[in-house]
């Protein structure tokens, strides 16, 4: 009747998305009788700090490790160490260029952002100027969401122009200022896509401070975004299933420890939600506060 010790090394810690992942992991831990620790670096650029966290986790000799890689390659030697020590590794959120992780619990960020592009096009009537406020220029999620959105617009909506892509580090205040600058520089802007929670909140703040009426599409959930969608300040948002990611990661780790086989990828899915669909049980289940 032993309790498994599982170390989760994520890409971040303080942001609501990662707190939701943590909540899912805690839930699974409680259900399956494990203890989990959850750690992540300050920003999604600190690849080496994540390595130090992974190394410290390995020294602790946990039963299993969950790992959301900031860089697809950098961790290879440490993952090899884990494998040599017989510690199963589960990847979550982003994949690793390695066959060591037994499975990956993830969202397809490119596809999710493309869906946001489709919704944006629909809401602004297929033509006009739009912009993106994203969180990070170099992190995987930042790149995938910006690329997913911009490329989809380019491919499918020739009459829509992405006039500006700017990065606010996921900091609400900075994203607010950026949004205001974009709006003031482009008075005829139709919509903005906020590529993560902090960015999306910043976009809405900027929009309200200037009294603008543009279409805002957000990403992830959280109490603020849900409130904005409810009030109509935000048209809708893409949500992943962070709680599901955390839950599946821990569940997969425990299955691995029990010797069960795992599928190569666990797709935790993403959804578009707006005021109308927010209450649907299927959606409500993946939203977090």
């Amino acid at each position: 009747q032993e309790s498994y010790d599982i170390a989760l090394i994520s890409k971040g810690f303080q942001h609501q998305f990662w707190q939701a992942v943590k909540a899912g992991a805690d839930k699974a831990a409680a259900e399956f009788g494990a203890t989990v620790t959850f750690e992540g670096p300050e920003t999604e650029s600190q690849v080496d700090r994540q390595m130090d966290m992974l190394a410290a986790a390995l020294s602790r000799k946990p039963d299993a490790i969950g790992f959301a890689a900031l860089d697809s390659q950098a961790a290879t030697p440490l993952l090899q160490q884990a494998k040599d020590a017989g510690i199963p590794v589960i990847a979550f959120d982003s994949g690793v260029e390695s066959d060591i992780p037994l499975t990956t619990a993830t969202t397809d960020n490119v596809a999710a952002a493309a869906l946001a592009a489709d919704k944006m096009a629909e809401l602004i009537g297929g033509e006009g100027k739009v912009a993106v406020v994203a969180h990070d220029q170099t992190s995987r999620t930042g790149i995938d969401r910006v690329d997913g959105f911009v490329n989809r617009i380019k491919e499918a909506y020739p009459k829509i122009e992405v006039v500006s892509v700017q990065y606010g580090g996921g900091d609400q205040l900075q994203s607010t200022e950026i949004t205001k600058s974009i709006l003031l520089a482009n008075p005829d802007l139709k919509g903005i896509f906020g590529a993560n929670e902090g960015s999306a909140i910043g976009v809405v703040n900027g929009k309200t401070e200037l009294g603008s009426a543009i279409v805002v599409i957000g990403f992830d959930s959280g109490a603020a975004q849900k409130g904005f969608i409810e009030s109509g300040a935000m048209a809708g948002a893409i949500t992943q299933n962070p709680v599901g990611i955390g839950y599946e990661t821990v569940k997969a780790a425990i299955s691995a420890l029990k010797g069960e086989t795992l599928p190569p990828v666990i797709d935790t899915g993403f959804y578009y939600y707006d005021k109308a669909t927010m209450a649907n049980p299927e959606i409500a289940a993946v939203l977090y506060d």
Binding site: Q14, Q19, Q166, E209, A223
Partner: protein, 330 residues
Amino acid sequence: MTDTALPAKRGIRISGAFHRLLAFSGLIALVVVFSLASPNFMQTQNVLAILQATSVNGVLAIAATLVIITGGIDLSVGTLMTFCAVIAGVVLTYLGLPLPLGVLGAILAGTCSGLVSGTIIAKLKVPPFIATLGMMLILKGLSLVISGTKPIYFNDTPGFTQIAQGSLVGAVIPAIPVPNGVLILFLVAGLAAFVLGKTALGRYTFALGSNEEAVRLSGVNIDRWKIAVYATAGGICGVAGLLIASRLNSAQPALGQGYELDAIAAVVIGGTSLSGGRGTVVGTLIGALIISVLANGLRILSVPQEWQTVVTGCIIILAVYADILRRRTL
């Protein structure tokens, strides 16, 4: 010799006023360039946006100015701001107390934290850099702990967003709806300038930075005054905490780290010396404005972000260099 001293004094006064006028030159140059480059730049709304964007950093920078004039440094201004915002959240949202208590709570939390930093520095003789670095981490952690790593929303306190976002000026003159946050910035600046110039606290702030040992040898209780300066700076961070919380209508516990660098940069761009003894609040305001004009202007011009950083770096160096040239020739 009074004969020679007097004209010199007059000379200083004249050049003093001239100085202050010219100190704006870097800022004005930026404004002119951006106005020419983009028709959107000088619009009322954008000017207000710039001012609004200056408010939080400006208030933090004023707090940092006080400490830097004593020859110290305060790395904790950013996370202390967040901590104060969280305290306001606890008071208003978790405890459901009325708005004035939340305001009081935030400012009090800032003052107390400043008291702690000041005591560590003055009594334990820990260097300000270390003491405030430690406080920065402690406050960052505590903000997360207290808030349960979740933002605290102020939805139950409807007036709260008015603190920074409402516009008393706009109610009187609808054409220029200067947000209250900006008013508060200027209010804090005025108060700080008053304290520095006219009160004993201000006098000792300069004296400490000028020659602490000499102040001690003069029989002044330097510990007490040093602690008072840090406490005052802490209180000002509390105001910044209210401003940011009001703008975001929430206390975001993860925010704050990194803000200290912008604040200190504004102080130093404003001509305050890191070695203490000199500094002005007006200079700090100009420094903070330079930073936000630069950020706004480059965004308005849609300069790619990586180049924004490069240009910002260059202009900060150039602005300060221009200021140095000006002082040398005068």
